[in-house]
Symmetry: D2
Subunit: 342 residues, 4 copies
């Protein structure tokens, strides 16, 4: 018997035990507020693996058994194409839903799920894990407190070797991270999106460059790559007062804040511009960050929202915003990189 | 008296003693085949600095004095806008010409200089320094020998804090490096160019993203940035057989060759793609590289070409190719990132 | 029910559920050949944590209940002082024993345990985890194959911020790693040991420098530090043919092999030495390494040895060798760094 | 003609144009307060190289010609064995002297030179270049201001591949840097020295580990290595309030200041220590540093001291302190690492 009684705990099922499901299961096992009761997967070996890891948890093949069970909530970690069907069925069955990002395959599905959750008074949350890292929390704090001044650009590189997904291209796999982070820390709406990609080994793009245009010369750029020699997870933010690098692969010092000085002076000269820009490299600081696992905070946040009826950080609406942008990127990709106005 | 007699040495003048001129002067001083006789600059302090460094070298204010002097060759390290006038006057005066990159401000000027050098039977060379590094020589060798297989993408990041130039934007300042390297190691003609930028402090773009499209899904991308918190000089090349990272900021191991394995297998499954792509991270190797200064090889190459009448590695034609692409990038920038066909 | 029947699996108990116990437990849970039945710890909260993690596993307060149970093997992850008592009792009770390093608090205890295991025909294994990493396996392979030539020096830095242990000083905590690796990959007996340390916060040394002297100018040095600003886990091995750096903190490229060239030529000159040594930095290579968890191989190795009666890689004798050296280091520390002959 | 008249400038000769001489010559050429008039070297090729670089400077074979010339000061960059003779002759001839580190081959010679400079009222300065870096200046500032609290340890690693010197072993080549830095930033007198080394290719030690013992558990350690696969120039300083890493090979962020927290609490427990030490990794900061060349400040400092008669930062006395410690290290090396009391 576990140390806390099950009475006050959220009974949870995890649907999909492939790549991400086991991480969710482990965190639900460790979460004091939750009780993992069920793991569903079509694949026999995966179910066997789940049983070996968690002998106390039942496994089922058909997700419909989950809906019929006594669980109060489901965490959906299946291929993108099935998110909508599973989430809708779960919400209709009165279950709280945590969905792997992205929320669904298109905006119409997202809107439907958001509306359904509202009418059912259930928690619909998307697992935008990075929003729950102390690094992203710190970046948002910096920007809100004006530490960076006004943001001039937001440059992301999210590259690694594989894992080539079969259910979506690199944009739908990796861009949700950068988009959700951007929306959370900066929260401005782009005026246009432009994307160019290449398809080398898979059936869909494995390398894509995305530009997002905003007012006042703010520019965001994502480099998304499944075919990179080394893993890169770097976000660089340039501001009028300071610049910042967030390198997720760093064990420590994930965030570096650069106190560079850029001064502009008018010049009176015959040729060339009349603007003289002087840069001085300044000091650098890496804030202390809480190293605990972000997914644990996702799970705890979901459990808390479901038990209290409060809204989670990455709710359905936030997930829908991300999908809207993914669609625009996809349109630009299909349209040879033409700007898609938003 | 110097150790070798001046008889067999190329008498050289350096025009422009601002940022790059002193580097050229130092290398001409050290080059056994050259004799630096004259340094020209409009600025009195710069001339004083030149005299302090090289008491044996005369300094003049007006570059016309250079043409009237006994020098046989000039190295032009002045702002871009003056390249054409100075180079043309020098060629007409019968002098060999080494020009700072880019060769000139537009293709018409480039074509004229190339033709003039040909009719005058003089050496016209552009200082695309990087082509003379042992790193770029090695990369070309890898590609020619098929070590990388066929190239899938070419990704460059050239970012640093300043120096903001007043005579051109970040494209004309930094892109010549990446374009000349690309042309030299891969040598394919892009079918289209697309560029998006932002102007934050200066009068012209200080941050620009460039995409170059080729046949067969080959994609090249340049991230050009004058406003970055840390200096980045990285070129990543993905090939079908191997991948490569060239990090110019590394003291040693500037090139890393990754022996990753990417295998594709057909799958027969109901949903998702029918392609299964498996990646395995393999061994990594950093070749031994000659650490000697590339600019020294530029200068020696120029001296050799001038003295022997042979064609240098980065001749006028190569310089003109670079300018053609710079113009196309500029057009796309002005045209909101629309693809410019070539 | 788990996928394989329990009949052919080793029934295991983990004693001690503090820092390392949970790692052992997790790996025994995942090991197909083992069945974790019991976890023992004096601490009530730790037992509760164990139950929460592994509801299927029983927990007991008193280790004597383990001896009375039906388990066939125990993994001991308790403070050093209790290793001997627990291991002896387990062996006497006919149980196979895996002990956390170091094997015991002194050589007499080690000898007794080794002898007892032999007479009882039971497996006695020490958890020198690093020997089971693919990196250390590769280093041993390099040395055996003569890739490094003959080894000239072996330099280890094992530094981090905390964890200050209360049951031993930094030598007994960290040096077992470096000693066991050295013994495994080089296997030479030092002729003397010398150690100097400082005690800053704890009751015992938290910073110690150790020198080991061998024949033929081979020198080994360990820098052991609990009070370092950054985590360092680096072993540098200099050989006559090549040099090697093993940086355990690297996500990839943990091993770098340097193909440097050192040539010696006799000189005939009036003053200074008559030996001219020329060094040329050569290429560098990082071999592909299997990234799977070493502790899993420790656990599987223990299970295999126990089930088959074969001898494990890090058996009691290897563990005793390590303790012998730890004692010598300790003597030198107490004797103001005087060399202790072995 | 140079921009400032020669009247008020110090007329300087550089003796020895091997490895370091050219660096000194370049900086004297660039120094407004100095006029490099003479370069002396026994080697004909080196003199030719000097003339090629600085046609305006005379070269001589015999250093006695320097003493007979009109120069007011000499910079001595010859092998260690000749420092004393050359410096003494120069001082006796009434010339100010800048000597390459170490000042001389033994303490007696140092004392004699210091006394001679005093009686002659001439500047005697040792080129301990590192003291003039902004990094070391900053470290001294940190320690003086109590930013680190009281210093607990000082750990240096100064390792690289070659250059094997023929005129001294690795201690006399590299340790002067670490000793002079230690003396400058901490300034405590060690109570004992212990050193162990190995001689692999050369006639003298190319790998040496040095321990310096102080009161109050302060420990200093130098790892000196001519046979390392990668260049390391790292000084780690642990203090009661903060820790610091000075990595000279970093292009930027050479100094990192770690705000770690170490708390000690008494415990009442049966076994183990009664001290509970808790460490918490804190924020990290890299101060802004002036990147200008340190040797330039050495040269300017020497010129200033000579022209004004003031005492330079690294005067003869400081140089003598370093040699005293080098001798003690050498004694310990010869005496099998036995502690040499000071």
């Amino acid at each position: 018997m576990s140390s806390t009684s099950a009475g006050d705990r959220l009974r949870v099922a995890v649907i999909g035990f492939g790549y991400w499901g086991p991480h969710l299961a482990r965190n639900f096992m460790d979460s004091a507020g939750a009780e993992l009761q069920l793991i569903a997967d079509h694949n026999q070996q995966r179910r066997a693996a789940a049983r070996a890891m968690y002998p106390s948890v039942d496994t089922v093949e058909d997700e419909r058994e989950v809906l019929a069970s006594s669980v109060q909530a489901v965490a959906i970690a299946t291929p993108l194409a099935s998110h909508y069907e599973l989430a809708r069925a779960a919400l209709e069955a009165g279950l709280h839903v945590l969905v792997e990002k992205p929320l669904a395959a298109n905006s119409t599905q997202c809107a439907e799920l958001v509306a359904l959750a509202r009418t059912q008074r259930l928690t619909l949350m998307v697992d935008h894990t990075f929003l729950y890292t102390s690094a992203v929390q710190k970046i948002r704090e910096y920007i809100e407190d004006g530490v960076l001044g006004s943001v001039l650009y937001f440059d992301c590189v999210r590259a690694n070797l594989g894992r080539f997904r079969r259910d979506c291209n690199v944009v739908w796999d990796l861009a949700p991270h950068d988009i959700s982070i951007f929306n959370y820390v900066i929260g401005k709406q782009p005026r246009w999106v432009s994307a160019t990609g290449a398809t080398h080994h898979a059936a869909e793009e494995n390398l894509v460059y995305v530009c997002l245009g905003f007012e006042d010369q703010l520019l965001a750029h994502f480099h998304l790559n499944w075919l990179a020699p080394v893993k890169v997870r770097r976000i660089t933010i340039g501001g009028t007062r300071r610049m910042l690098v967030y390198d997720e692969t760093e064990a420590r010092e994930k965030i570096k804040l650069y106190d560079h000085e850029v001064t502009t002076s008018k010049l009176d000269r015959q040729r060339g511009s009349t603007l003289e820009v002087q840069c001085r490299a300044g000091a650098c600081a890496a804030p202390e960050l809480d190293g605990s696992e972000a997914l644990r905070r996702v799970v705890d946040g979901f459990v808390h929202a479901a038990l209290t009826g409060t809204s989670p950080l990455s709710d359905g609406a936030a997930g829908a915003d991300v999908v809207r942008l993914l669609e625009a990127i996809q349109r630009s990709l299909r349209d040879s990189g033409a700007r898609v106005l938003l």
